[in-house]
């Protein structure tokens, strides 16, 4: 119950992946092989320990090998009791008592060895053997090896094995041993990258080892840097390869020539289907089911029949080579000027354009009015502001006079005071 995966081919640019019970664990190459595999082992063991049904007991890395060791889930045990020893010519009977709390899990395989080379196997996936009794019953249900017989009482964990006489000597057995193995449900994948290097005259490939045992290798080609070649040719073995290529301009298709293909439309005997024939070469081009809505169309043109075609009707459709004076299409084009249906019924070209211009004019008028109204608001606000915070020269002039007089008056007071003091101070 251990499996070994050989990842020794892992190299720079590659990655290793292990899928265990449907869960992917992958690790791109990092630094060296050992580091990479250790990282992978770490991921796996973190992910799988305690994860039922696969509990790995160990994940180990050695060289380029990753080893998974499986753990059986509380495997059942068996003890044997030799009830009757076999003597020459007589049978011996052994009771194998199975014990174990959880029985055989679906990934386990129980192998009962009776004697050298004589084994009976029960796989956990074959049924539900979650108790010892069921396991005993499972063994009993198996075909006993030649010379042996197995019985099991209902609901009993005892398996009675009888070794019958076989020729001259009874096979006999002293002990039956039970081994339970767990199948590790794992697949591995190794991705490598092949590096190409360009030399002057050829490109050589250098690949890492391709001898991988177990993993399923995927090889990718990585071109590092730019390679000037337009075409790369890969060869195996030895020798040379030469390839040359040419580029021709494809001829222009003149659509008019395509339209000039004369077509014959031939209806079948009940008018439900018609055949398109190239008139010039009498080549049948297509058979088409006819319906009045679909009409007949080919090469970009289409034709409608004004009534139901009769059986075997033939229509010839050809280009208008001769009627160079036919001006009916021109008249139709000129009639577009008065065609009101082009713009969904809004009117003909002139009317739609005129209404667009009219709409624009109306919007402009509205915008103008709005602008004037807004301008008036601005003007009034400015007025109000100037009225409050502006300067009126007359007002300032008047204030100037007032303050000037006040100043003069104050100056006069000082002068008087000065005179008074002088008078007082001059008193001797």
């Amino acid at each position: 119950d251990s499996e070994v995966f050989d990842f020794s081919g892992l190299a720079q640019g590659g990655s290793a992946k292990l899928t265990l019970n449907g869960t992917d664990y992958s690790q791109p190459f990092h630094t060296n092989l050992a580091t990479t595999l250790n990282a992978l082992a770490h991921k796996i063991s973190n992910g799988t320990v305690n994860v039922v049904p696969q509990k790995l007991s160990a994940v180990s890395v050695s060289g380029g090998l990753l080893t998974l060791t499986g753990l059986t889930t509380s495997p059942p045990t068996a003890t044997t009791v030799l009830t009757t020893a076999g003597a020459s010519g007589a049978a011996s009977v052994t009771t194998v008592t199975f014990a174990g709390t959880t029985g055989l899990s679906p990934i386990d395989t129980a192998t009962l060895t009776l004697a050298s080379g004589v084994t009976i196997t029960v796989a956990g996936s074959e049924g539900t053997y979650d108790t010892a009794a069921k396991l005993a019953a499972a063994f009993a249900a198996k075909t006993a090896p030649s010379g042996y017989g197995m019985t099991n009482a209902s609901n009993s964990a005892n398996l009675v094995i009888t070794a019958t006489a076989n020729g001259t000597a009874t096979p006999g057995f002293a002990n039956a041993t039970l081994a339970v193995t767990t199948d590790i449900n794992a697949t591995a994948q190794l991705t490598t990258r092949v590096e190409l290097t360009e030399t002057a005259s050829s490109v050589t490939g250098k690949s890492s080892t391709t001898s991988i045992n177990r993993p399923d290798p995927r090889h990718f080609l990585g071109l590092s840097g730019g390679i000037n070649e337009d075409l790369l040719v890969f060869v195996t073995g030895s020798g040379g390869a030469k390839i040359s290529a040419q580029w021709d301009q494809s001829p222009l298709i003149d659509q008019r020539e395509v339209w000039r293909q004369d077509i014959t439309v031939k209806f079948n005997s009940d008018g439900s289907q018609f055949e398109l024939i190239d008139t010039q070469t009498d080549t049948s081009l297509a058979h088409v089911n006819y319906s009045a809505e679909k009409g007949i169309s080919y090469n970009g043109w289409s034709a409608e029949l004004s009534s139901i075609p009769a059986a075997n009707d033939i229509f010839y459709i050809k280009g208008n080579h001769d009627l160079t004076g036919d001006n009916r299409n021109m008249l139709k084009m000129a009639a577009l000027q008065n065609d009101s249906t082009i713009f969904g019924g809004r009117g003909d070209f002139g009317e739609v354009y005129t209404s667009t211009v009219g709409k624009l004019g109306t919007i402009l008028v509205q915008t103008d009015i709005a602008r004037e109204a807004q301008q008036t608001l601005v003007d009034q606000a400015t007025e109000a502001r100037d009225s409050v915070s502006g300067v009126s020269l007359d007002e300032e002039a008047a204030n100037l006079l007032r303050f000037q007089q006040a100043y003069q008056a104050s100056a006069q007071v000082v002068k008087i005071a000065n005179t008074l003091f002088d008078s007082i101070l001059s008193i001797r």
Binding site: N338, S392, L393, A398
Partner: protein, 309 residues
């Protein structure tokens, strides 16, 4: 306003004067272009009406040129058919004389030669081209003569039975040609002596006449007279068609011209400027502007500072 400030005063006056300038500029622009409506936003409904009128007038112009072209084509057909009728009369006279028993082989042969040359003349006339190079009796098929004589001497029609139409008024089409097959094509001829129905086209009839003359076959010549009458009547009918169309063209032209005049008047009423009103307005606005400017000049100078020593 509570107070008039210097800043307020200047702002106010500037705004007003600007507005007056704008109005004045607009009036000036109207006067120099002669139009009241300069942009759609000046009067959207008028502008759209004017645009519609422009469209109609342009269409009218197109119809007019179409009518002119039709007229030239029809005139060509008219004169051609006149020539054809003239030639046909000559042939009738010749055949009438040749059917007379007093004529002998030689005389009839001479008549045959003349009729052969008239036939060729008629064939060439049937291939007349109009001023733009198209064959007037060819219909849709252009690029080759409609009446060509093969090596077997038979004149065949290579044109089409449809003719071009042109638009001479709104939703009104008129055919501007006659297909050669109508003019010179197969007609129902008087039944023969056994009562069987007969038919034939113009040029084969002439060829038959020549043959009859060469064979001295007076009976056939007498039959031919009856046939020629049928052809003559047909050409008269076709000629009448051309005449009718030309009349229609004249009427349509007159109608279009009247319509054009009406459109012009309507357009002028809508978008043209009334000069009297505009010049008066200009005068008013410039007076107002001048007054505003002068009064501002006066007022803005007033200041108390002038009166403080």
């Amino acid at each position: 306003m509570i107070r008039i400030t210097q800043a307020g005063l200047f702002n106010n006056v500037t705004q007003r004067m600007n507005q007056m300038q704008v109005a004045l500029a607009k009036t000036q622009e109207q006067i120099s272009t002669g139009k009241r409506v300069l942009k759609p936003s000046d009067d959207p409904t008028t502008a759209t009406a004017v645009m519609n009128l422009n469209t109609k007038m342009a269409q009218n112009e197109r119809y007019g040129s179409n009518l002119d072209r039709a007229n030239s084509l029809l005139s060509a057909q008219d004169s051609t058919l006149t020539s054809v009728t003239g030639a046909l009369d000559r042939i009738k006279a010749l055949v009438l004389r040749a059917a007379n028993d007093t004529y002998n082989d030689q005389d009839r042969l001479a008549v045959a030669v003349e009729i052969e040359s008239v036939t060729e003349y008629l064939r060439q006339t049937a291939n007349t081209q109009s001023s733009d190079g198209s064959y007037i009796f060819s219909g849709f098929t252009q690029g080759q003569e409609p009446f060509q004589q093969g090596s077997d001497g038979v004149v065949r029609y290579f044109g089409s039975t449809d003719v071009q139409k042109i638009e001479i008024a709104e939703q009104s089409m008129m055919a501007i040609g006659l297909p050669g097959s109508d003019v010179f094509g197969s007609q129902v001829l008087p039944p023969d002596s056994n009562g069987n129905a007969r038919s034939g086209d113009f040029f084969s009839e002439l060829a038959n006449i020549v043959t009859a003359l060469k064979n001295n076959d007076a009976d056939s010549l007498r039959t031919a007279l009856g046939d020629l009458k049928v052809f003559h009547d047909n050409i008269t009918i076709q000629h009448a068609k051309v005449g009718a169309r030309m009349n229609r063209i004249d009427m349509q032209k007159e109608w279009n011209e009247n319509l054009d005049g009406d459109y012009k008047i309507m357009k002028s009423q809508l978008e043209d400027l009334d000069y009297v009103e505009a010049v008066t307005r200009l005068k008013n606005q410039s007076v107002a502007l001048q007054a505003g400017q002068q009064s501002f000049a006066k007022i803005s100078q007033l200041s108390l500072f002038d009166y403080i020593r």
